[in-house]
């Protein structure tokens, strides 16, 4: 009971209070603990915990593969990918330098240095390394290695080095796969918008309108739509709405015509500037929506979330919330 309940609660309370008070107490030890040590403790624990996760992943994938359960082919790919990345990260250096060039293997690097000269003069010693000639390939290789003509990248730096095998894996396998998954969002946003943006009520209509303004206003194509086009559109939509309300053709026609004439006269007087009146120019309108109502709403939600986090965290620190222990 003490081990499973009171000790964890005490740990949370002590470290939570310590980290919170580090913001206010001007003591170097506490500040160092809160700013550096506490985060590093967590990172170390998380790093070791990855082993548990990886073992769990391998266990489940192997079981699926061996028992040929549904989707076992994907498990085979998962296992192969895991070991591929593991081996080239931990066991294969994958980066050997010859001057500025990088080669994946030492053999490839040696091949670039050793020249095979089959001319009559060099028949005895055909293998050349710089100015030196050798009878056997192995002698030439030994010489190249002894002379440090090939520089292997340090372990650790081999995963960050430009041109290394690890970087190759990242650039040509991992990056395209990640980018593909992110690219799915473009399609999903389209289908989600199409399905969800319906003018069911006033708020939904407002959301729909704001969404359209921002989508069009945010891109260069929106800048090509003049404010006068938007005004004509508003007159047309208002005309349709008047027709829906009054159901009288005369009223609709008069209203719409009057609207068109007014807009045309205003345009002719002002000279049809593309971005005036600015309230109808989509890029400026979307900027206003972003900077004013959107920022206000975002800030309010942010404050609510911030308060929620503060109170929830205090509940954990004071031991009021014990659900994370399973209670």
């Amino acid at each position: 009971m003490i081990l499973k309940r009171y000790i964890p609660i005490a740990i949370v309370a002590i470290f939570g209070s310590l980290t919170l008070s580090a913001w206010f107490i001007d003591n170097e030890t506490i500040e160092t603990f809160a700013n550096d040590d506490a985060t590093q403790f967590f990172d170390i624990i998380a790093a070791f915990a990855v082993f548990l996760g990886a073992l769990n992943l391998l266990k489940l994938q192997f079981i699926k593969f061996i028992k040929k359960q549904k989707g076992w082919q994907y498990s085979a790919i998962s296992i192969l990918s895991f070991f591929f990345a593991f081996i080239i990260g931990f066991f294969i250096r994958g980066a050997y330098f010859v001057d500025d060039k990088v080669f994946f293997t030492q053999e490839a690097a040696l091949e670039s240095i050793i020249i095979l000269d089959v001319s009559k003069e060099q028949q005895e010693e055909p293998y050349k390394v710089q100015e030196n000639s050798f009878k056997n390939l192995s002698d030439a290789k030994d010489f190249a290695i002894k002379q440090n003509l090939i520089t292997p990248v340090d372990w650790g730096a081999h995963v960050q080095k430009n041109g290394s095998l690890f970087q190759w894996m990242f650039k040509y396998i991992f990056s395209p796969l990640s980018a593909t998954m992110f690219a799915l969002l473009a399609f999903f946003v389209a289908s989600a918008s199409f399905r969800a943006f319906r003018a069911r009520n006033f708020e939904a209509s407002l959301l729909l309108l704001a969404g359209i303004i921002i989508m069009i206003g945010r891109v260069p194509a929106g800048g090509l739509i003049s404010s006068w086009m938007v005004m004509y559109l508003i007159v047309l939509v208002s005309g349709l709405y008047i027709h829906y309300l009054k159901k009288k053709n005369n009223v609709t026609i008069i209203f719409t015509l009057a609207g068109f004439i007014l807009v045309t006269i205003a345009g002719m007087i002002t000279g049809w500037p593309i971005d005036k009146p600015s309230i109808f120019y989509l890029p400026l309108l979307q900027e206003w929506i972003y900077l004013v109502p959107n920022a206000a709403g975002s800030t309010a939600i942010l404050m609510g979330i911030g308060l929620g986090i503060v109170v929830t965290s205090l509940r954990y620190i004071f031991g009021l919330e014990k659900s994370y222990l399973g209670e």
């Binding site: 990172d43 945010r218 975002s298």
Partner: protein, 283 residues
């Protein structure tokens, strides 16, 4: 005929989402294959960002952080490349850090993109500090003592052996901090633990989705301007006069947005027509 038109619109309203996927795919692919030039209009936040960098005294030390991965590369990479170009043109000394493990590869690619243009020499024009795990702990470490976090750079060379690192003890020794950020850790952490406590001028480039969250920091002056997603990157490429992928991508983005809006409008018209039909038959 009107009835046929109504029925057609109702059918469009019930279209299979795969049709939408195909049309979006075409809307993005065609402008990329047959480039369409569209005028780019700079927004105030991008102009402020540009001016913020122009105000840095020439030859200053600047920290550029690559805090994104391959998934958000289309949005953030163009802006980071443009920022590097701008910094190097103004003869600043660039120090590159990464809070994301993928960031180091993005940094290597960005440097490769501009290497020939500026005849870049490592340790003379830039230092690639590399990736360190720890998120905000890294920033806090940089704010107090850089050598606590980085003892060697990305190539394994000792920091103290790099001449460019002389007189660089912590964030206060930089004139400017820039973070190209796609999430956590990124802009917020740099503002909270980097820019704010040290008072060093900073700004950021973020994905479009994050702009909402970051705008309060721009309004409060904690960030000097902002590069907002790919449109922001395109605007900035125009300002630094080096058109790149962002400008090319704007046509694709424009057409994709237009296709989505057209579908939304058709969907709503179909919705109203359906409602009208249902009311008619229920009478």
């Amino acid at each position: 005929m009107i009835r046929n038109l109504e029925n057609l619109i109702i059918k469009i309203g019930d279209v299979d989402r795969r049709v939408i996927f195909v049309l979006i795919g075409l809307a993005v692919l065609i402008p990329l294959l047959t480039p369409v030039s569209l005028p780019i209009r700079e927004t105030p936040t991008t102009v402020k960002f540009y001016e913020g960098i122009e105000e840095i005294p020439k030859g200053s030390k600047v920290l550029v952080s690559f805090d994104y991965g391959p998934s958000t590369r289309p949005e953030i990479h163009p802006m980071n490349v443009a920022v590097l170009r701008h910094m190097l043109r103004n003869e600043h000394k660039v120090y590159i850090s990464c809070l994301w493990p993928d960031g180091i590869y993005m940094a290597l690619d960005a440097l490769e993109d501009i290497s020939d243009e500026f005849s870049l020499k490592e340790y003379e024009d830039y230092v690639l500090l590399g990736y360190r795990p720890g998120a905000e702990a890294v920033i806090k470490g940089l704010a107090s003592d850089l050598r606590k976090v980085y003892t060697v750079d990305a190539n394994g060379k000792f920091i103290d052996d790099i001449e460019m690192m002389n007189n660089v003890k912590n964030l206060n020794d930089f004139a400017y901090i820039y973070s190209g950020s796609a999430g956590y850790p990124g802009t917020f952490e740099w503002v909270k633990y980097g820019g704010d406590p040290t008072g060093v001028r900073m700004s950021s480039g973020t994905t479009s989705v994050q702009v909402n969250e970051v705008i309060p920091y721009v309004r409060s002056g904690q960030l000097i301007g902002l590069l907002a997603g790919m449109p922001g990157a395109a605007e900035y490429e125009k300002l630094v006069e080096s058109p790149g992928i962002a400008i090319k991508g704007m046509a694709a983005q424009s057409f994709a947005h237009i296709v989505i809006v057209v579908f939304i409008i058709f969907g709503n018209i179909a919705f109203f027509l359906k409602q009208k039909k249902e009311r008619k038959y229920s009478k």
